[in-house]
Symmetry: C2
Subunit: 218 residues, 2 copies
Amino acid sequence: MNFLNSSRRRSESAVDRVADALRTGLMTRRFAPGQRLIEADLTEEFQVSRGTLRQAFSRLESDGLIDIVPNRGAIVRQMSQRDVLELFQIRSELEGLAARLAASRMSDPAVKARFKADIAAIWEEQPRVDGGRYLDENSGFHQAILVAADNQQLASICGQFHLHMIMGQVGRALGGEAMARSVEEHRHIADAILECDPDRADRLMREHLLRALQLSQA
Amino acid sequence: MNFLNSSRRRSESAVDRVADALRTGLMTRRFAPGQRLIEADLTEEFQVSRGTLRQAFSRLESDGLIDIVPNRGAIVRQMSQRDVLELFQIRSELEGLAARLAASRMSDPAVKARFKADIAAIWEEQPRVDGGRYLDENSGFHQAILVAADNQQLASICGQFHLHMIMGQVGRALGGEAMARSVEEHRHIADAILECDPDRADRLMREHLLRALQLSQA
DNA sequence: CTAGCAAAATTGTTCGACAATACTGTTCGA
DNA sequence: TCGAACAGTATTGTCGAACAATTTTGCTAG
């Protein structure tokens, strides 16, 4: 999954490295919700000082991935059903906006070409049997829309939401027919965007996410 | 960005205190955009260790208020015209959603009563001459809607945006007639919400924010 | 006046220390 | 036996000093 691997930049600070590692651990469920993250253990594992580790904690806390409770330290955040619901409402708005913006930028041929290239994968015929590959495709699709929308703040915020969604295990355990349906919806959304139809793109995107919510609640 | 952390910790840790102080300093323009925040100066001023200060920095960075550049430290973020525009687009979506949610909850008499009480100030007759008081009223109005909307994640994220907006000096230097117009719009939005008309509330809120954007760009 | 170099400032990170608070297991009295 | 007081341990919150790496500044020579 491409959102898990961290490109090792030379100038990556220790704080960045640790924060990324923790994020990965959180997403892969190595650290379970509710679990306490003991500083002594992690400084040992990552070979960093407590100060560095605590900076990383601060960052993850601001990202909403963990809670820091006074005198009890860092605790892996648990998302309630309600949290998931609230986040989905918000995400629908933002991704709807992204779809609308993307659609309205398709009059620019360069943007359109780039978008087409980015979403090429969704037109492939063979059925999605591999869950991991489907997730990559899904991730890539939404990412491509954000790129086309050309709103960096929006991209940044939606990136965060993506993390949360994965954290909440939404979209795991999708059945084959659910994936097929999702792929189908992606294509319809892509059509609307490519045809410069902001309203339709927006509406389809919202419906798409609503469906995903229903699947996850089932 | 801190979407999920809505629960305020009541114990005032040193990190919290410093982060709050820095936030205030940022908003009041005591620290100007582009300015470097020198650790030695601030540890001296706040009487905390570098570790504590750096934790606060980490938090502000995740909130998007400062940038941390390797080997150059914390730098007050400058918002470009484009950033402001992008944020406004996003804020319109989210506050529109909030207005819609709030309107749809007005069937609950308790919620309605609470909302009415919260926004009592906007019905006052005397003209808004004092910019500070207007800003408070404006802030209270949007806050009341978020409370009524009953979506904690949304409230949290919108709170962040508020910071950014102030950082971007949007909504400063409003003329008297602009304030009067804004108050007028607030009343129309409140009407729509109280009448349980989600679509109208949403639309009016978006128009309201769009107008604010135009004013700020002028 | 500029290039280049040395000195000073500043950051990134570590380590060890200490008090404050939370957790745990044990003992003691009813 | 049960539960409450207690003491010991674990863990966190914060500090201060230290050091290398990097950036910035100031000075000098050309």
